[in-house]
């Protein structure tokens, strides 16, 4: 088992940007995740993985205040979020790109960029658009008329433009061709490293996610079932599969459900 690396984030010396401490959260008083403790430091990339219904999205929503913790807490730069409202958390620098991409179909690319930065920031805009040059050509286009890949680039670009401290991306690959994802994820990773942004990724493409992440955390049934350095998890693929598919299935592929 990959044991020790999980406890030693790559930048252990620095204070984590975002932490969850023994977090439980859910809907109508019923917890969808329990006992979640994880942290992300500057320039660190954490991949949050697990099958559907495992509680990944709930974890992310709790981090940005859209779901209130039932127990435990979320800390940003060491300070508990408390009763801060979601838009205040966003202004504090924790940005979520939700799985619907959080873009506005009726707005143009230019209007999105306008909204993203509170003050016009030409330097940052150039820097971000250099990473996604295709957006320059689409400035006047409405987001609803763009392809899925272009929309996703816009979603990421507008988040980066706001100079976030922590960027959380939910299922970036949803509905995208694998090729596009394989191009985009490393680009995002590089930007995060450059700017010292803490990056949390929820992904269904496990291989790809682990290939760019520093650490992997695998959830199932609302709990962390496996964590480790991304490289270790990539090598021990059968462990990841076991965490996903349920161990008994792989121990005994046929017998258990005959009746």
């Amino acid at each position: 088992m990959p044991e020790s690396p999980a406890q030693e984030p790559t930048e252990a010396s620095r204070e984590p940007l975002l932490e969850t401490v023994d977090l439980a959260a859910g809907y109508n008083g019923v917890a969808a995740i329990r006992g979640l403790s994880l942290s992300v430091g500057p320039g660190e990339v954490v991949a949050l993985l697990g099958p559907n219904g495992a509680g990944k999205t709930t974890s992310l929503l709790a981090m940005v205040g859209l779901v209130r913790p039932l127990a435990g807490e979320v800390r940003v730069l060491g300070a508990p979020l408390g009763r801060r409202r979601p838009h205040q958390i966003a202004r504090a620098g924790v940005l979520l790109v939700p799985d619907d991409r959080g873009i506005f179909y009726g707005l143009t690319v230019r209007e999105h960029l306008r909204l993203a930065a509170r003050k016009a920031d030409a330097e940052r805009e150039t820097q971000v658009l250099d990473r996604f040059p295709v957006l320059r050509k689409l400035e006047g286009r409405r987001a609803g008329l763009m392809s899925g890949g272009e929309q996703q680039m816009l979603a990421i670009a507008k988040a980066l433009l706001a100079r976030p401290k922590v960027l959380i991306i939910d299922e970036m690959s949803l509905g995208l061709a694998p090729k596009i994802v394989q191009e985009m994820l490393p680009a995002i990773r590089d930007l995060a490293k450059e700017d010292g942004i803490g990056l949390v990724l929820v992904e269904q493409h496990i291989e790809l996610a682990l290939s760019i992440a520093d650490r992997g955390v695998i959830l199932n049934h609302g709990r962390v079932v496996l964590t480790g350095a991304a490289g270790d998890l990539l090598r021990d693929r059968h462990l990841v599969e076991a965490a996903y598919f349920g161990a008994e299935q792989f121990a005994d592929t046929e017998g258990t459900l005959a009746g």
């Binding site: 099958p51 509905g175 990539l234």
Partner: protein, 264 residues
């Protein structure tokens, strides 16, 4: 209920969706998908998120417009509105449960068993009611899914797992030839999930055909007779669970194809 033990299921019995295509604007959410659900069989429909599984269920049950042909026990149903497809024997559940939260569990089941109308209105006003007439309908449906003691609970007070089961019971209440289950086990823990698998099998053995969508691979691969895999709206695989487990396209669709690790 159909009696499938008497004769081998003919090609006409059960649900047959032929080359179903669903478009949302420019996006093809289902691209010519063909699935057969014969009486007594459990057919699994799996695929990564956004592959078009729920769209397929919506199309078959009449909640989304689709091209293609849908027959139930030999009769075309693709032009019928949803409630008539239900009356014809095609029943579905919803991913999010979609129970009537303000009604008790028993009432949720009775809604499906007695669907109202002008004649019902007249009977409500003028005909004396038997006490507890609906109780056995509810009790029977709950027994099939293995829930008891919750008949009088408000649906929204149930746990998510129980709500899913009541959803299945509601789909069965009043009779169903074919059952479409949209992620019935999401939110169940692995123990509950296994118990649920046994329920699904026994429901199918009692007659109806079942189309099962789920992300719990052990559930789907364990319980289904046939598995169909969708990716980006296309049908990339149809075969037995054993074949699915070793099929490289299926594994790639779920876990992603191995990439060159860019790590040091």
């Amino acid at each position: 209920m159909s009696d499938h033990s008497a004769s081998a299921p003919s090609a006409q019995r059960g649900l047959h969706a032929r080359e179903l295509t669903v478009r949302y604007g420019g996006l093809v959410a289902n691209d010519s998908v063909t699935i057969d659900v014969e009486p007594g069989r459990v057919v699994g429909l799996i695929g990564p998120n956004g592959a078009g599984k729920t769209t397929f269920v919506d199309a078959v049950s009449g909640f989304t417009a689709a091209e293609g042909e849908i027959t139930l026990d030999g009769a075309r149903i693709d032009a019928l509105p949803p409630h008539e497809r239900r009356a014809a024997g095609l029943s579905r559940t919803w991913q999010s449960g979609e129970l009537f939260g303000n009604l008790s569990v028993a009432e949720n089941l009775l809604v499906a068993a007695r669907t109202g109308g002008w004649r019902t209105l007249a009977r409500d006003i003028f005909v004396r009611r038997r006490r507890g007439a609906g109780d056995e309908v509810a009790a029977r449906a709950l027994e099939v899914v293995g829930l008891d003691g919750v008949a009088d609970t408000l649906a929204r007070d149930l746990t998510l797992g129980q709500q899913k089961l009541v959803g299945v019971a509601r789909a069965l209440a009043g009779g169903a030839e074919v059952l479409l289950l949209d992620e019935p086990a999401a939110g169940l823990d692995s123990m509950e999930s296994q118990a649920f698998a046994a329920r699904v099998r026994s429901i199918a053995d009692s007659g109806p055909g079942i189309l099962l969508i789920d992300h719990d691979m052990s559930l789907v691969l364990g319980v289904c007779d046939i598995v169909t895999v969708l990716e980006f709206g296309k049908q990339i695989f149809t075969g037995t669970p054993a074949e699915a487990r070793t099929d490289p396209t299926v594994v790639a669709a779920y876990l992603g194809a191995p990439v060159e690790a860019s790590h040091a």
